[in-house]
């Protein structure tokens, strides 16, 4: 069992990479789509510069506040964005994760490729590894 998982999504869009890139770095445009169903987005921003901030504030269906924060590591319009992502809720932080967004030219528009993976730190990894082996034993019981 791998210690960390990676999300890998590829989709095509019928608009140019320049236009698609705006849907990430223009806060008003980002705010029109960047939230899961049953959630309300308060604000979202991915700054279009290395060292800039990533920020999203949402409320879930129960009215609990969820905040995602991070730092933009790479901004190369209109083809590439990389930023860190950490969830915070109820005063506690989640692990830091890394988002890579690549927008390539395609025949009828753009090809969007998103990967989202965990940034695995040594201490966290040791715990997850120990705990996953314990969970393997638990698995059949817990289901």
């Amino acid at each position: 069992m791998p210690v960390s998982d990676k999300i890998d999504i590829t989709q095509s869009f019928g608009i140019t990479p320049e236009n698609l890139f705006l849907y990430f770095i223009d806060p008003r445009k980002l705010g029109s789509w960047f939230f899961p169903d049953n959630c309300t987005l308060v604000a979202a921003e991915i700054e279009n510069r290395a060292g800039g901030r990533f920020y999203a504030k949402l409320f879930d269906a129960e009215g609990c506040e969820m905040v995602a924060t991070g730092t933009v590591l790479i901004a190369e319009p209109p083809h590439r964005l990389r930023f860190s992502w950490r969830w915070r809720a109820q005063g506690y932080s989640g692990t830091e994760t890394l988002v890579d967004i690549e927008i390539a030219d395609a025949k009828d528009g753009s090809l969007l490729h998103i990967t989202h993976s965990e940034i695995v730190q040594a201490e966290h990894m040791a715990h997850v590894a120990g705990w996953q082996s314990a969970l393997k034993k638990l698995g059949p019981m817990a289901r």
Binding site: D5, K6, I7, I9, Q11, F13, G14, I15, Y23, S32, W33, F34, F35, P36, D37, N38, C39, D60, A61, E62, C64, M66, R86, W87, R88, A89, Q90, Y92, S93, G94, T95, T97, L112, I114, H116, E123, H124, H127, V128, G130, W131, A134, L135, K137, L138, G139, A142, R143
Partner: protein, 107 residues
């Protein structure tokens, strides 16, 4: 566990103390004071972490007289292992909306 608790699961397990608590609960149920002793914390400190795990659906508590015992909840295995599924749902549902927004703007 309900979908809308996405953030709770991430936060619940992103902490070494809480991961250790979950590890110790895999073997058996433990009382609040056992859990606080194991992690060298005050009862109040342990309770704060246990509350986070409880709200994320990872542990559940039972009261026996004056003793409160914590154990892993039935859905804990799925909640924990499938955290990437929840983050994936964030992207999938958002990207579906992005397609709709772009199509609407073209009309």
């Amino acid at each position: 566990m309900a979908d809308h608790n996405i953030a709770h699961t991430f936060c619940a397990l992103g902490d070494a103390i809480r991961l250790r608590m979950v590890e110790s609960l895999v073997k058996r149920s433990l009382s609040t004071s056992q859990l606080s002793d194991n992690s060298n914390m005050t009862i109040a400190g342990a309770l704060k972490h246990l509350k986070v795990l409880e709200r994320a659906g990872i542990v559940c508590k039972r009261k026996d007289g004056r003793t409160v015992t914590y154990s892993l909840s039935k859905g804990a295995f799925e909640s924990i292992v499938k955290w990437t599924d929840k983050q994936r749902r964030f992207w999938d549902q958002s990207l579906n909306r992005l397609h709709r927004v772009i199509n609407a703007s073209k009309r």
